[in-house]
Subunit: 230 residues, 6 copies
């Protein structure tokens, strides 16, 4: 890893980002072929936010938030900062001062594979964070990392400018070159689901709506009337 | 495991279920002799719900929700679906479409030893779920399991028709043949607690109310005035 | 460990406690030199409380809450009970009856390195608890422990009368002999942060406000214009 | 749970047990249709043992090994003791004295969903144990449990007399009424594998031996020559 | 925490240490009244060592091993170094160079609530380490900690000079002022166990040897002949 | 993710690989600037192996080992297979038959972010595996993944042909374009360490050898003679 900051990155298509923000993580993740999802230990520090935006990536050393300060300067309105670490760590590398600064730059939120602190202040500010832990543990500013290089965060590889979608279900990353295609698929999936939801709410069974009875029987599923018949 | 669906199950007594829903998990668990509690990793996806009902049980393969579709048809109003897996898994096997369908059948909620997704939608619908994880990870419909056979979920063995009680404290299972007896014991315990609560709120010490001073002294507890006397 | 209850403990300075309650966990933890923080698995059972007070300490056996009953008598208004265990345990050793009793004594809250139950009732009562788990698992009253001796709770050693500060960021312990000094440092830190927050909100970068550009360059940080220049 | 000891249990067929001991956990688990496997946190305290035998089951309270003493009397030569707990626990509930006694009864080993201690002594004695933890934490003899009732251990429900198979790959439980059928299937599977192993060792690819190329192509798998062709 | 090194510490009695090393962790832990045991995540990096000695304590910042270098100078032959951290961490803070240096000082081993690396080299050298993880992750030498002040390591508070006993069962700490008394109790316990072991090996049941039958009956244990009698 | 197999990959320099295999994980990881290390949950199934080789990468669905069969054909002598999964999983996706086949192709070992089974057979064969779990849980061959595309395994992104180094300390990945440079740095580091080891073994303190006394004093470290002077 070279200690480097990349100034100009290509950001994913804005319209596609808007679509994905409207549809949320689960639908986007399905449209991407069920990949790109961060591990489920990544949880929002407060419930109810749903954001999407291009990633400004940070590789940090555990317990050291120096590079987050550096990365804020590279953020444009609408961006989402994504921080990966070189080792597992739960220290509180991000708090309300950094949140104030990121918000002032117009950034939409933060994804960090480490800890977050000042969570009640960040909630009050309406600044959303997804993290692996909440911890007041303070950090140093001693070792370099990098900004806007590819980083692994919570099990997913992210290139700068890739789309980040985050809501109460978790965080998914869409490679920027697939953004338009995935947004379209996600929209189609969502449209289809609307009709299905109406039918299911009216009492139609998925077994019938999806024509599952025949393949279930073929796979060998047997119905018996009573427990003692098993 | 045979791939089977049992159609007719004996459900626990309805009055007993009503009592347990009114009293909640901790009281019911005590009345059952402190057993039947699922592991504490099972958490509600939203706070505040308290439900009780007979179990419709599902044994699923990890990452495969085919049998949940099958099991919905076996649910009657008031039932609670309980899903165990053949291996540890956190994939989001249940979402708002399945929630819509279960709700349309009159089911009260879901207990799943795996992941759940669409949590903000499910919260808005008022459909309660207890799960081991929240995850957008999509699933397949490829392998058979079984419905209404005994399953292990979060460390507890459940027979179809057993009583499920779930609230913010967790999930407890009461065998159906003990339901009436346990409900009565739970009611008695709750009645006793009301009087105790009033006394404690008025400043009476548990030490006195429970007559603990003598057994404590007998067991060897010593009071000293200052730290240096230890 | 001797089964002993110490009746008279020296409590930390009240003014210092008031200051720390107003400033919260993260600021206090920084003022203490980034030490004294409990492990991040300690979480509030409901969000939004911020308390500080002198510790009444309890050493309990896992799954046994007898000593909590004993310790309540030793609590004065404003105290916070801190319970450590002799082995890892998630059983629900504390519930609404004990909460009612502690509240009646004027105690501000509970910190327990084990499980808590009746969480919706405790939330309704406004009694805050920080615990490692939520669990309905019932406990016994069979084995002695000790009250007001030094205990380890969630990785931190606590002397009776030390200051406990707890909020949504976690729990920090300040030794009572350092309380006045730490409160002063925390206040100074908070005052400094106010000015910084205003500047950052106005768009000033931390890079400039903290004069980081030169040390970053000295440490070897390089800026490039494009990804292919890395 | 009633505090009861069942004296006479039906044990699974001895020949079937012998076959499964010779074939090991992975093969038996496959023959059972990929079910019945305990969670992978169950590990041997020393490597290299492979045992099979009928289960004498114990339900214990966490940190209390009284019922293990009771259960030893119910063991016959060749039996394997299986201990489940009413709550998660890692205390060292079993050590070399209990191991000496169990060995004197002719029991083959122990499966315990809790901790084990005296591991170097047990290794020297050649007495195999599978546990969720190694811990010197001592226990009490204070609360009743039960012997030879169905128990859940590491996620699996076990009836007394069911077959336990345990080796370096983990622990699997075979219901006694399926023992003969599963042993036969396991033997057939093992015989088939011998021939396959020889072919694979000689360089034949699984792709060809299992005729996978066509279904892979049908499922849509594409081969490209170079990374840039993806 | 002040950045301080304490040069002269009082070490526990040498004879008592010798006795405890001969008897091991489980027996010593029992003699101490079942307290003082580190959490079971502390495991030896290689099996078979059993050591005891006075503690030289280190408080380190996570991912920083500067203070270990400092502490080596304070070690005398027979000492055991004990390292606690201010936050949870698994980085490899100790390797074969530090091991060579500690061994040259005559230290018997290391207990570290963080990661260890070079484990095959350390095993070859015969230098025993108990750690929470094995990890090659490198560390820095940037922040001060302290040497020979009280530290919390894996859930236990340790004063400099306290006795550390470590073997395959884990790590236990005996306060130095209790060392002689605990060693004597441990020896007595061990002598008693010898006779018990002989009886148990000859087939005597613990039920009879410990006279458990009457208290079990009194507590309500019932024997039935067959499962259907439950 | 497209279901694709890339046939021709560029492999890292063979001499560099040889050097890194001789030096091991910790030294290589340091030479890479303390990055590229897999999470410490990746452990060898048997101790003592140290291997290095170019990566053949596999992206698999959890609980499905179809793509491992496909990938074996792409392995050349000396290669190491690296398997990442699209979701957290501990199923035993690799066993002795696949091991036999990989060994027949000349592959040196396997790195898998999932479970492994038949561990005693693999040990006997001398085929090394690093995995996140040991589990007998069987898998299916139902869903496509990809071979020789970039994958994330245990928190690290790996390109096909990158260098994998694995030993008892864990697993590190070196990008192929940095292989020669890193191997040279690692060799230099190892040479330097030889001289240091000799000095330390002779009793020289790291404090003196690394000239740490002055920077420690500058950073504020204070020596006191006795505990009461703190």
């Amino acid at each position: 890893m070279k200690p480097v900051v990349v100034r100009n990155i290509k950001r994913a298509d804005g319209n596609a980002i808007g679509t994905m923000q409207a549809l949320g993580v689960s639908t986007t993740h399905e449209a991407l072929g069920r990949s790109g999802l961060m591990k489920p230990y990544m949880r929002p520090i407060w419930a109810g936010a749903c954001i999407a935006g291009p990633a400004v990536t940070v590789l940090a050393q555990p317990g050291d938030n120096w590079m987050i300060h550096v990365a804020i300067e590279q953020c444009q309105p609408g961006d989402i900062m994504v921080v990966g670490c070189t080792a597992d760590n739960t220290d509180g590398m991000f708090g309300d001062l950094l949140g104030t600064s990121l918000k002032a730059r117009g950034a939409k939120g933060l994804i960090i594979d480490a800890g977050c602190r000042d969570v009640s202040e960040l909630k009050e500010m309406g600044f959303p964070v997804w993290s692996r832990a909440i911890s007041a543990k303070g950090t140093v500013k001693a070792t370099l990392g990098a900004v806007n290089i590819p980083v692994v965060c919570a099990g997913v590889n992210i290139e700068p400018g890739d789309v980040v979608v985050a809501d109460d279900d978790g965080v998914v990353i869409v490679p920027k070159k697939l953004a338009v295609e995935v947004a379209a698929k996600a929209q189609k999936r969502s449209d289809d689901e609307g009709a299905k939801r109406t039918k299911l709410a009216a009492g139609t069974l998925g077994l019938d709506m999806y024509n599952m009875r025949e393949p279930l029987a073929k796979a060998g599923l047997v119905y018996v009337d009573n427990p003692e018949d098993v």
